[in-house]
Symmetry: C2
């Protein structure tokens, strides 16, 4: 079959790879109907040292079940399913607690012999714990929004949930990428009444306003911090959703968070340490967040998408075929596309 591989920074190609087959009784074989490119895919696309050994890439997909291992119950061939960006058994203590990213028998796509999402098909390990059936046809107009259940929307949602967003908390979202916009949508769904979106790409922040942002701050650094403080009586917001992953964003988060507040991060961290000295200590700032257990949120978010109450799929502003995936990467890297949907 054909699938995306990466050899190094800027070097993503579609190549022929071995066809996936059922290997374990807990496997499923899924033909990919939609995939997409993640902001986190841009980190290796931007900096991975070149290697002659290709790596598979992509961790978001939905598709049709083509085959099932003997131990996979609750699914049938022909089912449309979405896969969260980490696979998990669904039965261990961590899975039962809703932390499927720490599953005792789980793992990541596109590594250690597991297929990536950007390809024609995927062997899904621990299929029963991992996959969620989608009660729509494979040509549903809802596919883009359903596709976001794989990663970007639950990631934004996790950020807001971990921050403790409620109707009584004010919110700053840092970053107007697809995760940041998803976090706005999440904060709105959780009832927040003031949602300040920090971002400087007008077409993105416009979508953020449609998703629920009440204020947009285009300034960065100290100027941005001052602006947010000005919008909050000088105090900053109870919660800050950091959806970038850069040290500068963490610094901004500390600047705009209210005393006693929470900085929640879901941007894949491109830093190794963060300031944690006497300042945040005296202000009782909590830092939380991390990689989102998307599987934990799909069941509760799915009905809102099926009902049309929310449309997280609006973050996709470009659709490409599998052969155009390399162009999709470049478009996202150049910020010409917010998030790219793939139709293999």
């Amino acid at each position: 079959m054909r699938a995306a591989v990466i050899h190094g920074a800027g070097d993503v190609h579609i190549e022929n790879v071995p066809d996936p087959t059922i290997r374990q009784p807990t496997d499923a074989l899924v033909r990919v109907v939609r995939a997409c490119i993640c902001g986190s895919d841009l980190w290796p696309y931007g900096s991975l040292p070149h290697s002659d050994t290709e790596q598979r890439i992509g961790h978001e997909f939905l598709g049709v079940v083509e085959d099932l291992g003997a131990d996979v119950a609750g699914f049938a061939r022909g089912d449309l399913v979405v896969a969260p960006f980490v696979w998990s058994d669904g039965t261990c203590e961590f899975c039962r607690e809703g932390l499927q990213t720490s599953c005792r028998h789980g793992g990541s796509w596109a590594r250690d012999g597991i297929d990536g999402g950007q390809g024609e098909a995927v062997r899904v390990p621990q299929a029963q714990g991992t996959l969620v059936k989608l009660p729509v046809a494979a040509d549903s107009a809802l596919l883009p929004s359903l596709m976001t259940l794989s990663d970007v929307f639950p990631t934004g949602y996790h950020c807001a949930v971990k921050a403790g967003v409620t109707p009584r908390t004010t919110v700053t979202v840092i970053g107007d990428g697809a995760v940041g916009l998803s976090a706005v949508l999440a904060a709105k769904r959780l009832g927040a009444e003031q949602i300040i979106l920090m971002g400087r790409h007008r077409e993105r922040t416009d979508l953020g306003v449609e998703f629920g942002a009440t204020d947009v701050v285009a300034e960065r650094g100290e100027a941005g911090i001052e602006k947010v403080r000005g919008l909050t009586g000088g105090d900053g917001t109870h919660t800050v959703l950091e959806c970038v992953g850069l040290a500068a964003a963490i610094e901004t988060a500390l600047g705009v968070v209210r005393d006693g507040g929470v900085v929640s991060r879901v941007g894949a961290p491109q830093y190794s340490q963060v300031p944690m000295d006497f300042g945040p200590f005296l202000r009782n700032i909590t830092r939380t967040g991390g990689v989102a257990p998307a599987r934990a949120y799909i069941d509760q978010l799915l009905p809102d998408i099926l009902d049309g109450r929310i449309e997280p799929g609006r973050v996709f502003d470009r659709t490409v075929g599998l052969d155009e995936v390399p162009d999709g990467y470049q478009a996202m890297a150049d910020r010409k596309a917010l998030k790219v949907l793939v139709t293999p």
Copy 2:
């Protein structure tokens, strides 16, 4: 009057200082009956650059109200009162939320012209918001435990509360100082069934066991981490109460916390950055804690002390007069005393 002053590392003396008087209608004048020396006092005692300008020191005291400003309601001369280690107005939004350490009109003892706790008397700003009446005589045998309400016990309690300790969470307490032992007592009060105390001073960890620790780990670093993991099925504990303040303790905390768990810190941080890279991100570790709003906890902890259900005052293992305060500092610095009570 006489009070403790510090000129630099190792240089604490009792000197004559101006007698405090009521200056604002919100002030109270309190004659100190008990004070104590805090582990955090040892940081300047260990490293403050020498200066000819003395600084007052000490932030924990209880005493008798000798005079009251016109605006202070609810107190009378002769009342025995305890002061939390930060003074606060009790009326601003932060105080109403229980974050009196961020009070809009509050501040710290022993700086900016405010008396320290280690002295004969204290002018208490914002007395109505700050002080709590103690319904016992000034010679009560409960005074040591009541004295801990000023700082050390609420600090341990804050650590446990912020960590989210409940009967369902396992707990590691890092540090067998007075705060660590208070955190053990707090975790026990909050219902934790497994409380692992990391400390290597036998007489202190013995008290920790009496306070509720179920396991003691004397090893440090990697060996200590392995030991805690061995006691928890390999996973670590849901909550970690970091009561030291050194970078090594934070590293240990990361090593012993369970995926999805919380590291809460109340040790005054002697570091400026903490590791916050992909590891804790993938494990969804939350970091919380900070300076304890002791005032927020006194009302709920006081009855347990009055009833004799808990005896946090057992952390005091030496009592000195005001003149012996310098010896008290040295004894704590030499680890010959756990925590020193002062009877001015």
